[in-house]
């Protein structure tokens, strides 16, 4: 069994990471999940949260706001709609994301209201997790 697998984090605008990792912790829509080499093939959607990878080269954290992850035997690909390295995440960006989520919540129709509220809550929780406060 391989100790590491190929991990790619891509957003529409660029490829953020492409490295060999031992495990990836993914903020899945239904809860966090950790993928390790030879994980069963899975596709999951993401909620806003922190994605952390650890491998021979150390561990790294990324902030993702949504999208999906494709886990195959030998590789894991995360397609994030919007992703930042944790170090690049600032209060300003978080505020903007939360503001966007809130305005989406206000504009949401009755049936999508719960989803939109969850999105706002996820954003706030994500901010707390990385040590930024939601205004």
């Amino acid at each position: 069994m391989a100790d590491t697998m190929q991990f790619d984090l891509v957003s529409p605008e660029r490829r953020l990471a492409s490295l060999e990792v031992a495990q990836v912790q993914i903020p899945g829509a239904d809860g966090d999940m950790t993928a390790m080499p030879d994980h069963a093939p899975t596709i999951t959607t993401l909620r806003p949260g922190v994605l952390s990878v650890s491998g021979p080269a150390g561990s790294e954290d990324y902030v993702v706001t949504g999208g999906f992850a494709e886990i195959g035997g030998g590789n894991t690909t995360v397609l994030a709609e919007c992703a930042y390295a944790k170090a690049d995440m600032t209060q300003d960006i978080l505020d903007q994301l939360i503001a966007e989520a809130k305005s989406a919540h206000e504009a949401a129709s009755a049936q999508a209201l719960d989803d939109a509220a969850k999105l706002v809550a996820d954003m706030v929780a994500m901010g707390e997790q990385i040590g930024l406060s939601a205004s």
């Binding site: 605008e13 490829r15 899945g28 829509a29 899975t42 999951t44």
Partner: protein
Amino acid sequence: MPSLKDLKNRISSVKSTRKITKAMQMVAAAKLRRAQEAAEASRPYTERFNAVLGGLAAAAGGSDNAPKLLSGTGSDQVHLLVVMTAERGLCGGFNTNISKLTRTKAAELMAAGKTVKILTVGKKGRDAIKRDLGDHFVGHVDLTEVKRVGYENARDIAADVLSRFDAGEFDVATIFYSKFVNVVSQIPTAQQIIPASFEDEGAGEATLYDYEPSEDAILADLLPRGVATQIFAALLENAASEQGARMSAMDNATRNAGDMIDKLTIEFNRSRQAVITNELIEIISGAEAL
């Protein structure tokens, strides 16, 4: 016969025109490189995305309760044409070609008795088709202030299109943009985005995935993103095409200006020579008359 002064003015004016077109060409070349890099950077995302979505769609496509974005509304009466062009001119046939394709398609659809609605992205295309198809406009997206198209722009356009779709305003959506092949060749393209169409490529790629939450939920989540992704890819192709078209147009213009300067300079020298000869003849014949 223009006077020497006229010619001189003319030459200096063409020279400054050449300077401008040369500068524009170089700016376009720099921007083209950036646009190509952006298009390149988005490719991994788009490819993976389409592969996954294609696999999901193939699995769910047959069922009756497939999302409307995938299966369509069951009719194809109302067509929405999303026409994406540049915000600026002076880029050769770029805007004209997209507008021409749109006009042809719109005429075809109308001849078949369909209703056509048009959403324009980019000022130039809007101006170009306003005269023929102005009655069909339902909206316009202004990107004048946007220096570099980002995913947010695509998402906003997609949100606009999707809300219209949810409101039942149209059945089929097609985007018009220009595919970048190389600097001298950009192909105006029409691509249907709603209902989503995928080429059957995943025959060999039959990995069985676990889906979390459920297959349907993921599909419902991904399809709207798919629209945004396709629009984003088209916007990037368009940006690269625009700069490519502008670059070759300005290259031509610079060369033409150079040719024109050469021609005018020869004319200028000839008429100067003619003036000198004339003066000489006058002096000599004056001297002989004495």
